[in-house]
């Protein structure tokens, strides 16, 4: 089982990102379970959503306590939430930022992970360019697909197409593909 935890703020499409990831895995004939953190969500408040992916039926209903990957949609959360909590020693860390890990004061965290397992991607900037709004969620999934090799970028695109009106979907897919092309692959991993 591969478990992903997504951190962001209300309005950034955190819950939607987890759903897109689950649909993408489903389209690859895998089992997936996406669920939100069940708070009283408000615009701007910290939000968490989860996604589990496995090759067999997923029965587990506890929150994801030890994620294989953490996606951070908003780097201002570092001061508010322990976004790294429980991240596995061989896990993946993907952060939405135009700045590098050093500038974000994260080299210590990155060093605890295998080389190449921590990455920043300018998702908000890519979203602004291709979607016209700084919505980083779909963009980050494009980077995630390349970075982890967990899902195919075409599955991410199909999931976005299923979940959004055509015009908005196309813009998000373009942005996601741009992010996919902008990041290095960390090597294939098994779910």
């Amino acid at each position: 089982m591969f478990q992903v935890r997504i951190h962001g703020r209300g309005g950034q499409g955190v819950v939607t990102a987890a759903e897109f990831l689950a649909v993408a895995a489903y389209l690859e004939h895998r089992h997936a379970q996406a669920f939100p953190s069940f708070g009283s969500e408000r615009m701007g408040a910290p939000v968490v959503a989860y996604c589990r992916i496995d090759d067999k039926e997923i029965r587990l209903r506890e929150p994801i306590l030890e994620p294989d990957a953490v996606i951070v949609q908003d780097p201002t959360l570092f001061k508010v939430v322990d976004v790294f909590q429980g991240l596995k020693p061989d896990g993946y860390l993907l952060i939405n930022s135009a700045r590098g890990l050093d500038e974000l004061h994260l080299p210590a965290i990155a060093k605890q992970l295998p080389p190449g397992h921590a990455l920043t991607v300018p998702a908000s900037e890519l979203a602004l360019k291709h979607i016209g709004r700084p919505l980083p969620n779909a963009v980050l999934l494009g980077a995630f697909a390349r970075f982890t090799g967990l899902i195919h970028i075409d599955s991410v695109a199909d999931a976005i197409r299923e979940g959004l009106p055509e015009k908005i979907a196309n813009a998000n897919i373009t942005a996601a593909r741009a992010a996919y092309d902008a990041v290095p692959a960390a090597g294939a991993i098994a779910a």
């Binding site: 669920f35 939100p36 587990l60």
Partner: protein, 418 residues
């Protein structure tokens, strides 16, 4: 048709295929997405010959369903938590009048303190109201149970509540096989009421009944639920024959054949318990699980047969009868009443107000039941430190203030406004 879909939407699509004729509901978290989905399907015509009635309260929602059902329509509503309490008087009327309404309950805690998260307090508050109550383990089962619920309700002319864990199921996006319309039509015949308000053949429904017949009316209500003990497995078997899935029934067993310890639980926590049991089995501990689907009618005989050979039974439930303990544990005791050499029953209260039930905590409590059994109820993951501090404080200070705010302050929620 297989879909990766939110639980609430999957339920809405399954309910839509049951061809309801009147849907009325008042939105309340975490039930809202179900009725939003249904409202949309009525508007677009995906559900034909159906009226979606907006009402001003939960009391009105169920009252409209009662009127619609009495007029011969297949009626549906949904609610949760305080909404269920607000319709409580109508809940008893629907069952007392014998009207086959189906209601989804998106299980949620009851305030005060106000809490929007999942537990089974709402279902327990009305478990003796005469409604049948079926608990879903997964979103697949949640969708399937609605189809079986209409069949069961209309066969007996008694209302059925489908209990679905709020958020954990209602808001989870996962794989659900949405039943095909033709299959649902073949499984669920058109509603043929046993009593109907018809101007062409006027009758009255809802007479005042005095001491001379009230007991008999109640007895017949109870008798119908005993008939359901036979019908529920029959309808589940027929469902499996048509849809190819094990959904519903009175209860399901998991790895109980040689189990010395058997866990009993209802709802979505069964998945986490199964994973825990697999891990404990791998360590050589002979442990199994009974997933209870039907809480009303309570399957005394089936449960006794499933449990009687175990040495220990651990009941894990998301509800607390304050001043008594676990209502499910109490009911399980009933199944083992007067049984010679009956297993020891251990009661665990867990997951209140949405507290996660983790494998780690389950491992701890199940092992403890083996080596250090307790009397009364064990509260899983109780924060004993803040409880002890609060108890100490209220002993010392007369005007100690509101409990909830005191505890939130001890947890560091300054101002305790959230």
């Amino acid at each position: 048709m297989l879909k990766q879909i939110e639980g609430s939407r999957a339920m809405a699509e399954a309910i839509g295929r049951c061809r309801p004729e009147v849907i009325c509901a008042y939105p309340i978290t975490p039930q809202t997405h179900i009725v939003e989905g249904l409202g949309e399907m009525v508007r677009t015509g995906e559900i034909e010959n159906c009226e979606f009635i907006n009402v001003e309260s939960e009391f009105a929602a169920l009252s409209v369903a009662i009127g619609a059902s009495a007029a011969g329509a297949r009626a549906y509503t949904a609610t949760a938590s305080q909404g269920l309490l607000y319709m409580a008087e109508a809940v008893y009327n629907a069952s007392g009048l014998g009207l086959p309404i189906v209601m989804t309950l998106g299980n949620r805690a009851i305030g005060a303190p106000i809490n929007i998260w999942n537990d089974h307090s709402d279902a327990m508050a009305v478990c003796d109201s005469g409604w049948m109550q079926l608990f879903a383990e997964t979103n697949q089962e949640a969708a399937d149970l609605h189809i079986q619920a209409f069949r069961l309700a209309e066969e007996l002319s008694m209302p059925v509540m489908v209990c679905v864990d709020g958020f954990i199921l209602t808001h989870a996006v996962e794989r659900v096989d949405i039943p095909e319309q033709a299959d649902v039509d073949a499984y669920l015949p058109p509603y043929e009421p046993v009593q109907v308000l018809d101007p062409k053949a006027p009758i009255s429904i809802g007479a005042m009944v005095g001491p001379d017949a009230f007991t008999e009316v109640r007895y017949l209500q109870h008798y119908k639920q005993t008939l359901a003990l036979r019908l529920i497995p029959e309808f589940a078997a027929e469902f499996k024959a048509r849809f190819g899935r094990d959904s519903g029934g009175l209860l399901r067993t998991y790895r109980t054949e040689d189990a010395k310890m058997i866990v009993v639980a209802m709802g979505s926590v069964n998945g986490t318990i199964k994973d825990t049991i697999d891990e404990m089995r791998a360590e050589g501990l002979p442990i199994g699980l009974v997933t209870l689907v039907a809480f009303r009618p309570f399957p005394v005989t089936a449960l006794r047969e499933a449990l009687v050979r175990a040495r220990d039974v651990v009941v894990i439930e998301k509800s607390l009868a304050v001043g008594m303990g676990g209502p499910l544990a109490n009911n399980v005791d009933l199944a083992l009443r007067n049984v010679a050499g009956a297993p020891q029953v251990h009661s665990v209260i867990a997951g209140l107000g949405g507290r996660p039930i983790t494998r780690a905590s389950l491992h701890r409590v199940l092992r403890r039941a083996l080596v250090q059994p307790w009397e009364g109820s064990h509260f899983l993951d109780l924060n004993e430190e803040i409880v002890a501090k609060e108890l100490h404080y209220v002993r010392k200070v007369r005007r100690s203030g509101p409990t909830a705010e005191n505890l939130l302050r001890r947890l560091g929620h300054v101002g305790a406004a959230e």
